[in-house]
Amino acid sequence: MANKISDETMEYVGILAKLRLSDEEKENAKSDMEKMLDYIDTLNELDTTGVEPMSHVFPVNNVFREDIVENGDGSEDTLANAPLKKEQGFKVPKTIG
């Protein structure tokens, strides 16, 4: 039951992953992914009918708190890490055409 991934699927996954791979990287990624999926397909041997998907191991619930600022203003320190900044903001390429 070998998995075959089409070039279109790889293209689509590249869009989701926000990655641009070179042709060589794309070929490698495709064959790596096919091999991994073949291996992951062993899970199909397992009957999971009626089993609830478990996202968290403990029965804990979301914790809410009041929206109160506790950590002060760190904007200067935060902006110090910006690759590009303009005045008090991050500088990015034009986002709306």
Partner: protein, 485 residues
């Protein structure tokens, strides 16, 4: 006695008794780092200036009596995926090559409150994805026992640094075995606590439902003492758990009489190196001779843990790593046309091959049309694996197993075949899926002189049992805590 060969509790005691100052301790660690780093490369960043300054402050606090922790003044290495305010935090990646966090991870803050002196940030597989510390952008780390071999991973820098004496103890993180496996390869002790025990606040996320910070030390007592300090209920981590007991050092008792230890038959079949097998079974025999009740049993579902893990971990990684976009921090590509081109070029240039491989796989298993077949299937498998462990712990206090199927491979041998490398995680991965605590403790060396670690896995919140058994075993070894020299 040489400062760098002392355990953390020994050194901490001498500092409290004013026999050694915190400054002398950090100077000794820095000398060792200078001596060993050209060969081992355990650190991405060594903060000599900051550490010396900090040691002076800690010494003052000790003298004033404001810090009385047993580990005050003891030099520590922090895995480079934990944020340290103002100190470079790279996660082993080019994409964070210039990132200086504006805050400190809660686990590290807990250490600082207890007077820890950070000597530097330890090397790791990029974004903790790897089992050898060879995928780091900052060069591979080498095993102090034999530099032709890897230290394991992804916390390879932390474990190698402790084994080489470059720091007295370290923090690592464990998503699929990343503390236990390198601890085994480097002949040190490492604990992966129950999920939710140590805050993940400030830990750069890989697989959030699996990640857990834990201690790496020269012996079991050091690890218990460190865990006692770093574990806390933290409201900044929504998965942090308010535990009843944080007194892990109370479990340092040399008595395993009546403890029930299960040996999963499925862990000792083909694929396990015979020298590793022999050493683990001998160590279990030691515990049996001390009064533990040892029994073989069938754990089942073992072969499904790795495929389930890689689906879940890659899915979470693809989501977690979407924040690295070249906008707010880290690397941004030099030339680009428009926003999406900037995202794609930045990420493609900033991430290494293994990280891209997992982001691609994760994006695929979460995409519409495949989500049910892969992602939900993996979460259902996880539920069954948890159930298998629940049932084992109805009968046994803990499970004894290898930490890895073989000792440390030679450099360059693992990366060519990713699937084969993933299979090396078979004994550690289930504990992450089921949220269980695990410890790796050295039990001997193979014919090449490379260390072998035994893993003890406990039920959720039962760290004390595995600490107690590991400690009792360790008391029978004259070479405990000696490191790679």
């Amino acid at each position: 006695m040489d400062i760098c060969s002392m355990t953390a509790l020994e050194l901490g005691k001498k500092i409290q008794q004013k026999e050694i100052s915190a400054v002398e301790a950090v100077k000794a660690a820095l000398e060792c780092i200078e001596d060993r780093e050209p060969e081992i490369n355990s650190f991405v960043t060594v903060d000599a200036e900051g550490a010396l300054k900090r040691a002076e402050e800690v010494q003052k606090s000790i003298e004033e009596g404001t810090i009385v922790s047993p580990l005050a003044g003891v030099p520590v290495g922090i895995k480079d995926n934990m944020c340290t305010k103002g100190l470079l935090t790279t996660c082993g990646s080019k994409i964070l090559k210039n990132f200086k966090p504006t805050f400190t991870a809660e686990a590290v803050r807990n250490l600082e409150r207890a007077g820890a002196v950070i000597v530097g940030k330890t090397n790791m597989d990029e974004f903790a994805m790897g089992s050898t510390t060879e995928t780091s952008y900052y060069g591979e780390t080498r095993n102090p026992w034999n530099p032709a071999h890897v230290p394991g991973g992804s916390s390879g820098g932390s474990c190698a640094a402790v084994a080489a004496g470059e720091c007295t103890y370290a923090l690592g993180s464990d998503t699929g075995g990343s503390i236990r496996q390198p601890s085994s390869f480097c002949g040190v002790v490492g604990i992966k606590p129950t999920y939710g025990t140590v805050s993940r606040y400030g830990l750069i996320a890989y697989g959030s439902s699996l990640d857990q910070i834990g201690p790496v030390g020269k012996n079991v007592a050091d690890c218990a003492a460190v865990l006692e300090i770093i574990a806390s209920h933290d409201k900044k981590d929504s998965t942090s758990i308010d535990r009843k007991d944080y007194d892990f050092t109370s479990a340092l008792v040399d008595d395993v009489k009546g403890m029930r230890i299960g040996i999963p038959r499925d862990y000792f079949l083909e694929g396990l190196d015979c020298e590793v097998k022999e050493n683990i079974l001998n160590a279990v025999k030691v515990l049996e001779d001390k009064g533990a009740v040892v029994e073989e049993f069938d754990l089942s579902l073992v072969q499904y843990a790795i495929p389930a893990y890689y689906v879940i971990a890659s899915a979470e990684a693809s989501s977690n790593l979407s924040r690295f976009d070249g906008v707010k921090y880290g690397y941004r590509t030099e030339t680009y046309e428009g926003l999406h081109d900037m995202y794609k070029k930045t990420r493609s240039e900033g991430f290494g091959a293994e990280v891209k491989r997992r982001i691609m796989l994760g994006s695929f298993v979460l995409s519409s049309g495949y989500y049910d077949a892969y992602y939900l299937k993996a979460l259902r498998t996880k539920a069954l694996i948890k159930k298998a462990f629940d049932s084992a712990f109805e009968t046994y206090d803990m499970i004894a197993a290898p930490a890895a199927p073989a000792t440390a491979p030679r450099l360059g041998e693992s990366l060519s075949d990713p699937l084969k490398m993933y299979l090396g995680d078979i004994y550690t991965i289930s504990a992450n899926l089921a949220g269980l605590p695990g410890i790796s403790v050295p039990v001997g060396t193979d014919s090449l002189g490379l260390p072998i670690g035994m893993q003890l896995i406990g039920n959720c919140f039962e760290e004390k049992k595995i600490i107690r058994a590991a400690y009792a075993y360790e008391q029978t070894r004259a070479d405990a805590g000696k490191g790679a020299d």
